[in-house]
């Protein structure tokens, strides 16, 4: 069952939490809803579940319009951020609850619940009350409860946010395994970019209620469609530089705040008087001065995992770069950084939209039109 959102909008008293979202979630896909706190991820999920009714736009499950259908009739499974396990029911009864609501015969319900418990590997805990479980176990119960009625759609609202770092890694692989084993369509909310990129087939990036980019994880990283997408993904964060065109020399720009000039080959840039460029720290490398893109003084050095993060200052502008730890550097040294032109991201200063750059060999496949 494909899920299609058409101009979906949710207006609360004074905030518009979701603004004109149009997208299609394909059958069997795991889609992540990614974005900063308060961007409308939970609201979008609540709209999909039917617990909120949109103030504008439509939702289709397959060919069926469900915009105004109540949550209890949508037949979806949902895992809440706090799990919301029923405290008065045992683990088994929790998992059986959706079946009880469907008036499935007790013996069958019990058998199906036990199968689910086995799938999420908690079948030895079925007699316990939720309060007697660890966070990870509670989460598994919540997933089992969401899946037991064989829903067409599984919604997960930051299900991993209460877990410690290690368990998070484990559980996110679990979720992926279960999702693929059952072959269910799933929407997974997170504000953690790594989580989104590692688990999903597709990432929907949101900011202030608006869909910023809707594409495969790698693509979103390689070809961010606007300044926000470029800034939200990547760790350490991308460097932005503002450029102003030099009238005298074609294709040459001055980096604002410095006296350095740079030249680009890309013909698409000709029309722009000013540019914003994004340089990912991992694409910058130390080079000889004649090959340099930008040269400056090293003002900061720190070790991040296997790499060394340096900050190089030119004029008023600091630039972060991840460099080979074998190269010996000290604060105060002069350092030249180079980058290949096709790894630079170009944005329109006025609209913040992408102009070009990055490895765009993957054709963009997002924003499918629904017929």
């Amino acid at each position: 069952m494909d899920i299609h959102l058409e101009q979906l909008t949710m207006q609360f008293d004074d905030v518009t939490a979701v603004k004109h979202i149009t997208t299609t979630i394909k059958n069997g896909e795991l889609v992540s809803l990614l974005g900063p706190s308060g961007c409308g991820k939970s609201t979008t999920l609540m709209l999909l579940s039917g617990l909120y009714k949109p103030t504008g736009g439509e939702i289709y499950f397959g060919d069926k319009r469900v915009t105004h259908l109540d949550a209890e009739k949508r037949g979806i499974g949902m895992v809440f951020q706090s799990y919301a396990l029923y405290p008065h029911l045992s683990v088994l009864k929790n998992i059986m609850f959706p079946l009880k609501m469907q008036r499935v015969a007790k013996a069958e319900a019990k058998q199906r619940a036990m199968e689910m418990a086995k799938l999420v590997q908690i079948d030895h805990l079925t007699d316990r009350k939720p309060a007697q479980l660890s966070g990870g176990q509670q989460q598994r119960v919540a997933i089992a409860r969401a899946l037991v009625k064989n829903p067409k759609l599984l919604l997960l609202d930051e299900p991993l946010s209460n877990l410690d770092a290690r368990l998070r890694l484990e559980m996110r692989e679990e979720i992926r395994r279960i999702q693929q084993e059952v072959g269910i369509t799933a929407v997974f909310v997170t504000h953690d970019q790594e989580e989104a990129l590692s688990i999903s087939d597709r990432v929907m990036l949101m900011n202030q209620g608006e869909l910023q980019q809707d594409s495969a994880p790698q693509e979103m990283y390689r070809t961010p469609s606007n300044v926000f997408a470029a800034s939200f993904l990547g760790n350490p964060p991308i460097n932005f530089l503002n450029l102003t065109k030099e009238e005298s020399k074609a294709g040459t720009y001055t980096i604002d705040g410095t006296n350095q000039q740079v030249t680009f080959m890309n013909p698409a840039l000709k029309a722009y008087e000013t540019l914003k460029i994004g340089l990912r720290p991992e694409h910058l490398e130390i080079a000889a001065e004649n090959e340099a893109f930008i040269t400056g003084e090293v003002i900061h050095i720190e070790t991040i995992g296997r790499d060394t993060l340096i900050r190089v200052q030119q004029g008023d502008i600091p630039v972060r770069a991840l460099v080979d730890p074998k190269i010996h550097l000290q604060v105060g040294d002069t350092c030249s950084l180079a980058i290949e032109e096709n790894q630079i991201h170009f944005f329109d200063t006025n609209t913040s939209e992408r102009i070009g750059g990055g490895f765009s060999h993957d054709v963009r496949t997002n924003l499918e039109e629904h017929v």
Partner: protein, 297 residues
């Protein structure tokens, strides 16, 4: 701060408890023991506190006294008439107040007023409402073609009148307790249940009722105990009489009559003791039932 109790800490705690304990012992514990002992006095001098003969004759006398049997029966009728309706009604109103409505504070005050108003004032107002010629109640019933009822003077209707008044009087307290209980239930459970396919009614039966069970339990125990103790309302509503033809004579009223009107002190004590046993058994039964059905977090 949780440490092993020592003699020193126990002594210190005891000092803090002492003032309240003294009052409790003098005005509660001692009278309970004393009246229990007194219920076995047969021949005694009340004013000099001398007892010549003890025995169980008071209890035998009680169970042979048609008035006591009637009082016990009336008390049961009263409890059965008041408690279930009061609980259902106050839960319904609490649910209504707990939904998003305007003027919530206003409604809460309205419903809580009876609780803070003196029983005597309430009874005076209700005796006018129940008035057979000028009463509001008969006036309303008249709209439905029902002939005027002598609420306070007809033995058939005195008990229903008392029950109506008591239900109304008890609403405020129960509503407040239920509201507090309802507001303690995390909204998440309702959302989850809704996604799991529960209709509004099934969310009520599967979530609200079990999650509210501790409150329900508390309210029903308090209501039943209060019901068994009913006295003020009768005294005020029927001007110091137990209703027409003893129709609202209850056990506590019986105790009052024996003690203050007939000076049968030991008989009054025996009746009070019987009531104590009845309430005790009921509470015990509720505790046992409660163990099974009440969910505590």
């Amino acid at each position: 701060m949780m440490s092993e109790p020592t003699w020193k800490s126990t002594f210190k705690a005891f000092l803090y408890l002492l003032p309240a304990l003294l009052i409790l012992i003098i005005f509660n514990i001692y009278p309970i023991i004393k009246s229990f002992l007194m219920s076995f006095y047969i021949d005694f001098d009340y004013f000099n506190n001398v007892v010549y003969e003890r025995g169980v004759r008071n209890f035998i006398h009680l169970f042979q006294d048609p008035n006591f049997i009637k009082a016990t029966l009336n008390t049961f009728i009263f409890v059965v008439g008041v408690v279930p309706i009061s609980i259902i009604l106050s839960l319904t109103i609490a649910l209504f107040l707990n939904s998003k409505i305007k003027f919530l504070g206003f409604f809460r005050t309205i419903y809580f007023l009876p609780f803070v108003t003196s029983v005597v004032a309430v009874a005076i107002v209700w005796s006018w409402i129940f008035h057979s010629d000028y009463g509001l109640l008969n006036y309303f019933l008249g709209w439905f073609g029902i002939d005027p009822i002598n609420w306070l003077t007809d033995p058939t209707y005195a008990m229903p009148a008392l029950i109506i008044l008591s239900i109304w009087k008890g609403l405020g307290f129960n509503i407040i307790i239920f509201l507090a209980g309802l507001q303690n239930i995390n909204q998440q459970y309702y959302l989850a249940a809704q996604v799991d396919g529960a209709s509004a009614w099934r969310r009520f039966t599967n979530m609200t009722l079990p999650l509210l069970s501790p409150t329900m339990f508390f309210v029903s125990i308090i209501s039943i105990i209060n019901g068994f103790k009913v006295f003020d309302e009768i005294f005020a509503l029927f001007n110091g009489k137990p209703g027409p033809a003893n129709s609202t004579l209850t056990v506590v009223y019986y105790v009052y009559q024996k003690f203050y009107e007939e000076y049968e002190f030991s008989l009054a004590a025996a009746a009070a003791f019987v009531l104590f046993i009845i309430v005790f058994i009921f509470t015990l039964v509720q505790l046992i039932i409660g163990k099974k059905f009440v969910h505590y977090d």
